[in-house]
Symmetry: C2
Subunit: 191 residues, 2 copies
């Protein structure tokens, strides 16, 4: 629970009483490599804090083409945030790429705390703002940069990930095929 507390306090200071209520909502759990935390079509109920491991969030379209929208590496929150917020079905899947340990909580339980703990609602506001900022940053990369530059940014942003997950997942994150990623890698190596 310690890393969770640290994470929250970095968002915004949490009083001891608020933390007690919050902590009570989370319970440890583990995911095996390949397990899904959320699935498109189902409405999310839980949010979780990733203590260790790697999770990918991805879309799959009607032709079964997948797009890895994000890799979660600990410590951070995972879960179908858009689904939790809107109470509509997930459009994304989240799958463990390695064995993971997580802390899960019912999102509704957290929402109830907003009434009695304004400091928690504040942390939630700041978290939502951060999520937005991260998405905007990623949007800029996707629409304004070519695949070569996106690959360079990926390498800087997730330094170790390239050794930990298959290359086709990285290609999917970059919005290209493994074929094209291989071409880019060859081009960059011969320089």
């Amino acid at each position: 629970m310690h890393s969770l507390k640290t994470f929250f306090n970095r968002l915004s200071p949490i009083s001891a009483q608020s933390w007690d209520k919050l902590e009570a909502l989370f319970s440890p759990q583990s995911l095996k490599k390949g397990d899904y935390f959320i699935t498109a079509g189902e409405t999310a109920r839980d949010i979780a804090f990733l203590e260790s491991g790697i999770i990918r969030a991805f879309y799959r379209n009607s032709e079964a083409v997948e797009y890895n929208k994000h890799f979660f590496t600990n410590p951070c929150f995972i879960g179908g945030y858009a689904s939790l917020v809107t109470k509509t079905p997930n459009q994304i899947h989240q799958q463990a790429l390695t064995d993971c340990t997580i802390l899960t909580a019912r999102y509704a339980g957290i929402q109830e705390l907003y009434e009695s703990c304004p400091d928690i609602e504040r942390a939630a506001r700041i978290l939502a703002e951060q999520f937005f900022v991260q998405k905007e940053q990623r949007e800029i990369e996707i629409v304004l940069l070519d695949a070569d530059k996106r690959y360079e940014i990926f390498q800087k942003h997730f330094p170790q990930l390239e050794q930990q997950v298959p290359q086709y997942h990285i290609a999917s994150y970059l919005g290209i095929t493994p074929t094209q990623l291989s071409r880019i890698r060859r081009k960059m190596a011969g320089r």
Copy 2:
């Protein structure tokens, strides 16, 4: 101010006292077609509520290529949200595509209200969550759909906009050139 009040109350109910404080922060202003509300490189200070008119938000990369990330049509909030939240310079520009009337407020003034008015902080949380959801929705369109489908969605989402702004702005929103948009239009017309 009425549409602003309606907008806030739809996010989450605002007490009369909170509304009085909030209303006092906003003052009417107008933008001429072509005027910029925010500019990349500058740190945003104000947020605004668009009462009438059309605004485009766009990125411009180092090669002067532009990408229209969003069209704001009233009534909604405009402003460099990521910049306001992070207090770092804007990465985007926002420019009036028609004459606009807006209500502007110092964002710092709103943030100060969070202390005394939890109902306003709640509205801010919900707004941030909505911003995130909208961005995720748009991300799905960009990465998973081809330009033809994105054009169809654009037409549904902004039914009148096609008659109100030049086609090259729409092409830029779709992530293609006017040339390609023209090809798509011809293809769709001949069917």
